[in-house]
Symmetry: C3
Subunit: 337 residues, 3 copies
């Protein structure tokens, strides 16, 4: 895969080598994200951060990643007042907006919208999430986190034992992660969900045909035994036909410290694509896990900045130039990481 | 006209010499907008991009133009939560906000609001659109585009034959463009609209008294013959008393490639202030024109960045300093233009 | 008080020495805010300007202050689409967002929310207003303005005679200002309000126990005699049980030029936390005062930028480095101040 000038629309674009390339560059971004060094490599470059579906976390993460490389961000945070609402085609929107920036990150609730947009755009487009379809940078940051956590524990992604827990039917993050994980060797998937929210047969077949083991379960305690990684998800209530329907599945699988202690191995890593639903009727990942050093959920979001910096640097072909303008940070920096 | 420190509120401020000055500076901005060079001439300067009426295109265009000169942008994207909604006068809003930035671009749906704001502002104000009244940078970018397209075809604005098509009654862009065109010599206007949406007598009288020819028509095919420029507009449905009323006029004049081929001269330039309404019942400019090299609608929006950069540089008196800090762009740049 | 790396959550954190330190640094920020000098001391630093309750003035003021120090701003302008609305805890939001920036300014309508957020944040947090509770930078800019205006008139804060006028019950700005003023010596407070909107006994006791004089009045003319400072407030209608209830108190105390001339001393300073309500039924501070040189309301908002720059510089420990990167402004600057 040649990154320079290319769109990032789907995890399907990535082979194992491309994934590793992103991760190696992400590793290089650490001193910048940790506020040890400042680079100005993209000084004067403009990101069009076009979120036609609102989002705080992903939008700010992409914007900060761009800022950390020295560039400026122009932003849209909703569709309400956009020309799309006045009957403008994605083609026109893309042609116009691509005249204002060097890269565009786009989120839109309509599946396939970002692909359509990218065809007409004159600058590289990154899919920031198109409905239930794709959100490739989320999958990349999840896999990058898995790699880091495993390396810290003397292990590798090959041979990994992962338990996916919760709403596996509607969880976009789970689907994309499964695709990327399938690029590796000899993985063991345990899928823990209510039968109605199980991972679709297509995804399971894809995993199996890539040579991995899949076990399905509707029982939390047995499902999470022997896992290296627990990947827990919230009930994607916004994708259910009704709130009542969604509420039936909330709170079915709740992980807390005592269950963790009883059923998990000592170093099992806990992940979640966030936000976790901390309301009483949901609470799939209890707050009493917050001091557990194996809770990696905030390392995931921190890693998201690294992965997004890497994508920008690769697309704009500045990987080797990042360090050339580096200076030491001269202000107080919190010990955040 | 002295640009330094002045407000840009109306096309009426401009004489032909002032227009030409803007265009000359806009020409100089090309290597920056095309990402060949980076300038930091406004590094440390702040734009207050105050859109009290939502807009994506114009807002991002102004913001990007400012960023391309090296400055920072602070932004408002709607009026809902502003102090104006709590009974604050434009006077107070202007006095306060002008303490936060070096230039303010303001859009507000109320006609005359930006004039009122500018009186109290302590920094230069650019009208980014005040209801059906004025939107001077749009008219300037349209005229700049006409000049460029004519020059490319070995012609000039003087002597131009232009057909204005569609909703000429409510189209703010058309009104302002007519005023600017009237500064030139010996133009031939063909006004193509349903009688109910014709250009008002005041505007027609203004054009005629400036010595130009005006022909009115309610028939597309004959109206577009012999034109150098076709300026097509959408039905401004948001200004009609009702949606049903607006829908009566949608789709009356539709330009597509076969009509173009049959009735237009080979190099007739097609313009549109955008967004074009690509829904089936409107579609005033068909997508089958997208590959027609004479379709200049995206060159218009690209030119908007140049014209807005020029206005900023003129108002802040940095035209001669832009090049002093210029460096070559070191990242991948798409062949966009 | 050690500023470096600390949160700014409440005026209660400040003793007189800390206040004076902020003001001394604010004084040093003047040439940057007045666009005589540009500093890049925070180049590469990112502010998370997280306004979960909308605001134009405060949000843009904080953002501009950060930009004037050379940093970048990432922003949220409402809560609607945030993860908080999907059941995310402040703990999680804080942990995630603090991975994206160097400092966070947060506004949220829920009292105590910013405290909760700060506990989990890995970077310093400034309270930009949490409901009716605290808004410390507003109180600091008010006191800074009082100091400046008094100094200009050959006086000091010690011994000050101040009249607080209007809705003293719901006015958050008044409450915090009273706390800060209480740090000084021998002040004379006149509290002018309808009995139902009087300052609560707790605040009055606090002022008195700090050794100051308090006189209560429900009559404007006598209340404003002999004051050095008039601090006028609007009826905080959004905090009343109903609009009808709020409307009963609007317009009860209206200061205009003729009342000022008749009852105030010649150099009495007029302040207001803004926005002033200029609608006919309210109009607590008439527009005919706009040319009165003692009207300090826009000097207040200008001072807000200085005070916020000072807080940022102190928290990030760059006070002594601001000047090191200073260059002269090379663009046209309006005589704004």
């Amino acid at each position: 895969m040649n990154f320079v000038g290319s769109h990032i629309l789907s995890v399907s674009q990535f082979d194992r080598r491309a994934v590793e390339r992103v991760f190696d560059v992400a590793d290089q971004m650490l001193p910048y994200a940790h506020r040890q060094l400042v680079t100005r490599v993209l000084e004067g470059a403009i990101l069009g951060n076009m979120f036609f579906e609102p989002s705080t976390r992903t939008r700010v993460s992409f914007g900060s990643a761009w800022n950390l490389l020295g560039g400026e961000v122009r932003e849209t945070t909703e569709i309400k007042a956009s020309a799309i609402a006045k009957g403008e085609s994605f083609y026109d929107t893309a042609r116009v907006l691509s005249g204002y920036s060097d890269v565009i990150v786009m989120r839109h609730q309509q599946e396939g919208s970002v692909d359509e947009f990218a065809i007409a755009s004159r600058v590289p487009v990154i899919n920031g999430g198109d409905g239930a379809n794709e959100h490739p940078s989320q999958a990349l940051l999840d896999l990058y986190t898995i790699r880091k956590e495993m390396t810290d524990r003397g292990k590798d992604i090959d041979g990994l034992r992962i338990a996916l827990v919760g709403d596996l039917r509607y969880g976009r993050a789970v689907h994309s992660l499964c695709k990327l994980l399938s690029l590796y060797s000899d993985l063991h998937f345990t899928l823990v969900s209510p039968p109605e929210l199980s991972l679709s047969k297509d995804y399971i077949d894809g995993i199996k045909s890539a040579g991995h083991e899949v076990i399905e379960s509707d029982e939390l305690h047995s499902g999470i035994r022997h896992a290296d990684i627990l990947y827990v998800t919230r009930t994607q209530e916004e994708r259910f036909p009704s709130q009542a329907e969604a509420d039936r599945y909330k709170g079915l699988f709740r992980l807390n410290q005592s269950i963790y202690t009883e059923y998990c191995e000592p170093n099992t890593v806990i992940m979640h694509p966030l936000p976790r639903d901390s309301r009483g009727n949901a609470n799939e990942l209890d707050n009493d896990l917050n001091e557990n050093p194996n809770l990696a959920i905030f390392r995931q979001t921190d890693n998201g900045v690294l992965v997004r910096m890497a994508l920008f640097a690769l697309i704009l072909d500045v990987v080797d130039k990042v360090g050339a303008t580096a200076t030491k940070v001269s202000w107080y920096t919190a010990k955040r990481f």
